[in-house]
């Protein structure tokens, strides 16, 4: 699948481990920058830089609440990543659905063996 190789690409935005950490933290709910700085253990300018990249691809949104800036996750921007992984996930879903049948047979056989004894 073709993918844009720019910083305005959601794939690139989440390729950085710290940015994924930020997204994980925001998945629990809206947070002010200070919270993120504390939880991630980076200096504020670095956290702000990561937040800027995430904002550029629309992965996070910001609003002002008095003197605080609150960040929150914007799920739909991450949909391309979800879609990309989906074909692969379907392969494993189909594979494991087959495995369910094999396991059901094994369970039945085991019970049969116990009954024979």
């Amino acid at each position: 699948m073709a993918r844009a190789a720019t910083t305005t690409d959601a794939f690139n935005a989440v390729a950085e481990p710290r940015r994924r950490q930020i997204l994980d933290l925001l998945a629990d709910g809206e947070r002010p920058v200070n919270d993120l700085v504390e939880l991630i253990g980076l200096a504020q300018p670095q956290v702000s830089k990561h937040l800027r990249v995430l904002r550029e691809v629309g992965a996070v949104e910001v609003r002002d609440d008095g003197r605080r800036r609150l960040y929150r996750l914007n799920g739909p921007a991450l949909k391309p990543i979800h879609d990309w992984v989906q074909g692969f996930e379907q392969l494993w879903s189909d594979r494991f659905d087959q495995l369910d049948s094999v396991l059901a047979d094994l369970k039945q056989k085991e019970q049969g063996d116990v009954g024979d004894e």
Partner: protein, 161 residues
């Protein structure tokens, strides 16, 4: 599909060079381990309804090899092989995995089985050597899906003749 299951495989990307596949099974982990490591049983599920398994070899010991080959419905052959690095029966298998279409990009797979109340959670962590290789691996899944779609289309086309 003979078994209806609410258990869906979940795929996540914990790091740039990793894929994590998880799934819950309604069976104790001894049985999952058995189904995962016995060639006759692997032949029954690994195809994922995408073709016929033509070869399934498992030499389950550290340093031993495994190889699975499938002829996909489109007629092309896909092969995977690797070597077992660590085996803890019913709990954990670490092995290498090489997709034979991309022989220079081996991955390291860690299979972990945990059981709770007779149900087993399977987790398969695929560690690639780079983001590019990881991405190519995921793209190969996309191609499978595409292949399925093409075959469905072909089936429809044939039925219209």
């Amino acid at each position: 599909m003979s078994v209806t299951s609410e258990n869906r495989a979940n795929v996540s990307l914990p790091a740039d060079d990793q894929i994590l596949i998880t799934r819950e099974f309604d069976a104790p982990r001894e049985l999952v381990f058995k189904a995962y490591t016995t060639p006759e049983l692997v032949r029954r599920w690994w195809h994922a309804n995408r073709g016929d398994i033509t070869l399934c070899e498992i030499d389950l010991r550290v340093g031993g090899g495994w190889r699975y080959v499938m002829t996909a419905r489109g007629g092309f052959e896909v092969g995977f092989h690797g070597e077992y690095r660590e085996i803890v029966p019913n709990e954990r298998i670490v092995s290498t995995e090489v997709f034979e279409g991309m022989p220079d990009a081996p991955a390291l797979d860690t299979l972990t089985l945990t059981e709770s109340d007779g149900r087993t959670t399977l987790s398969l962590l695929v560690q690639h050597s780079s983001r590019e290789n990881r991405d190519a691996h995921i793209n190969s899944g996309m191609e499978d899906g595409l292949q399925d779609a093409m075959e469905l289309l072909e089936g429809v086309a044939v039925s219209l003749r």
